[in-house]
Symmetry: C2
Subunit: 420 residues, 2 copies
């Protein structure tokens, strides 16, 4: 029987280091050519498997694959296709296994967050039941840092570094202008359910009085009066106020601050989002001049200032996934384990997929100050190691050199297509 | 008669390299101690002079001053105080001269954009008339790149680099997700009157089809139908569409796109701004899923990825200002002169202030493609040299090391205060 091939796919929102995990997978597989066949990557994630659009990574040069280390976003394409339950859409799962069978794929390496961990688990279970067993390994990736079991998620450290730096820089700007101009600056960051990214903005502060003065976490119910009072106190004391607002900030009843409830003449919901809504709230109450920024994709694509620690870990989980596959493991996820002791050390551990799938890890209450507006020393000690080191890409002509792969598809073997 | 002191002030919106100009001023003045006294910096710009709040830069260590090279924003504080005409507020000008006289200030070094060039000129003229002649030198600074005479403005190159890189990074993100998710991404950038910053996003493209696919310049009247048609064509052809929108984008009648004209229940103007308005316009017409980012202060404070060329030029104009002062010059501005020939070279020239004050340099039409939606090769050749080199700051503990000055004030000498 020929060696089994591996299928690798990127899932969900991409990060500035998810390609480093791909690099870890492909480089490690290439080191084990006697045991493992080709690495096929899904074109646009799992959709590529369903459509039998498999990218043959063996067509890529060594330097192109190595260039993935410094290239943000999903080099093979990712997708937001959520697999339904097996009961709801058994055909999709069966199609996957049919494609894997046709291409002699024995390893399913799925690089994503909580949803994809669940898919990964289900694929493994169903393949077993269908008599074509697959080893399914989930490779953790999410800027949201909300996966359980792993100490942190590859992808998060770089966003954290970007947000911490951007906060420190923008705060210097506001501080130098506040006497006669902008007094309040709001930076809206990602994180719909968990406040990890917002928390990382807290690393901008070095001493008492430093920005950010207020962080809004999804974990803490927003209280308009308390918030406005804190803004006022901060401006009176420091001359300005810098606010990091998680896009998931919400009222006690669970409604998001980003939804203003207003409609325009055509009945469309009002535009804007969280940062401008907060800014207007402050302006109405206190009259302060404001500015706001929404980092959006800039934060999760900012490979130009990625964390070296994050990059190393992203590579390591990709590498470990292949090693685990070769050791015969199934339904597991390599994870980051933090060592004990004062100096930060990390190693790769292993988590069972059924304990990872569909569980969200929120910020512990002990990481948030009693008033709910900032991070504690415990949070700082957790976060700080994750942003260490500057993993600069190479530059050419003033711009970062990011690779473009050939992304050549493997000839299809199945007669039938599949509509996704 | 004792040596004359110099007064230096930062004016208007700060940049990631304006402190490099301050560093050039102070280090150069320190080299000429036999000819020039102390450098006093205005606390919060010209307001500091009016209030007699002068920072004694001689109290700062050599390494602190050198640290200004890598510290973004205004280390002494800046302000948005626009001096009125002499006819409207002669008292302000007289106060300035009174303060300068009291502190034996003979050199007025004013670091700002078009407005401050005008103030600088007026101060010089009035001081002459009042019998206390000052040498007034204007040091160019503006991210908007809209000063005449100088080939480019210190501060612009670093924003250009940041926007070009951010565009390339975010575009990779969108490209990798567009099959099943976001199809349109809008990045709103600064530049209310001139499209230089928006144009710099064009440097993200390397080949046909690359982002940005559409750039909206203030110089080109916005045409809704043409724009929406272009978005659709782009999505059909490339699968996604990346748009750089200058905050100053406007309709033919001069009204800004950022103003939606909508009001909420309390009669407040609708929030939002340009990027969300454009996003909604596209959604309504084509139904595409969108994301948008507003870089705001992040772009002009992003010292972590400053252009080395920009940094060198910012330092050089500060240095040249002191040298010009020592050569007895008055009412001039050191400017950047681009050398002839293919290889980019620059040197410092000199522009008369009366030709700089209150003149805005727009993007030439030849820098914008015929359809109004992108930059031409000529623009690229102009812009590219300005983003060369990565002037990384030092890092400590994962974060950039930015200096904090003591900013110790000189004891006041005037009996009377002055209300600003």
């Amino acid at each position: 029987m020929p060696k089994k091939n591996a299928f690798y796919a990127q899932s969900g929102g991409v990060t500035s280091v998810i390609n480093a995990s791909a690099c870890g997978v492909i480089e490690t597989a290439r080191k084990h050519k006697s045991e493992i066949g080709k690495v096929y990557a899904g074109r646009n994630g799992i959709i590529g498997a369903l459509r039998e659009e498999l990218i043959d990574t063996s067509k890529e040069s060594r330097s192109a694959i190595h260039g993935l280390l410094t290239t943000p976003s999903g080099a093979f394409g990712s997708c937001r296709h959520k697999m339904k339950t097996i009961e709801e859409n058994r055909a999709e799962y069966e199609r996957l296994i049919e494609v894997f069978k046709a291409h002699n794929i024995g390893y399913f390496l799925y690089n994503g967050g909580g949803d994809s961990a669940d898919t990964c688990l289900k694929v493994s279970q169903l393949s077993e039941a269908m008599g074509y067993p697959l080893q399914a390994i989930h490779i953790p990736k999410t800027i949201d840092n909300d996966l359980p079991h792993t100490d942190n998620c590859p992808g998060f450290g770089s966003v954290a570094k970007y947000i911490a730096i951007s906060t420190r820089e923008a705060a210097l700007d506001v501080a130098s202008m506040c006497e006669s101009s902008t007094k309040v600056f709001i930076l809206e960051v990602m994180g719909r359910h968990a406040g990890w990214i917002a928390a990382s903005g807290g690393l901008a502060a070095e001493q008492e009085g430093d920005a950010p003065h207020i962080i809004l976490f999804p974990e803490i119910a927003f209280n308009r009066e308390k918030f406005l009072a804190k803004v006022k106190r901060t401006v009176k004391k420091n001359g300005y106020c810098v606010i990091i607002a998680s896009e998931g900030a919400q009222y006690k009843d669970g409604s998001f601050l980003a939804e203003s409830g207003l409609k325009d003449a055509f009945g469309h919901s009002q535009l804007g989002g969280l940062a401008p809504n907060l800014a207007q709230m402050i302006k109405d109450e206190h009259g302060y001049k404001y500015h706001w920024a929404v980092a959006d994709y800039l934060q999760r694509a900012a490979r130009h200032i990625a964390s070296q620690t994050d990059l190393d870990q992203a590579y390591a989980v990709g590498e470990a996934a292949v090693e685990m596959a070769l050791e015969g493991k199934n339904s597991v996820m390599p994870c980051i384990v933090r060592g004990k002791g004062k100096r930060y050390r990390w190693s790769i551990g292993e988590a069972p997929l059924d304990e990872v799938a569909n569980v969200e890890k929120m910020m512990p209450r002990s990481f948030i100050t009693r008033d709910g507006f900032n991070i504690t020393q415990a949070a700082r000690e957790y976060l700080e190691p994750l942003i260490q080191g500057e993993a600069y890409p190479e530059y050419k002509n003033g711009m970062p050199k990011y690779v473009r792969l050939k992304n050549q598809l493997v000839p299809k073997k199945l007669a039938k297509g599949f509509k996704v």
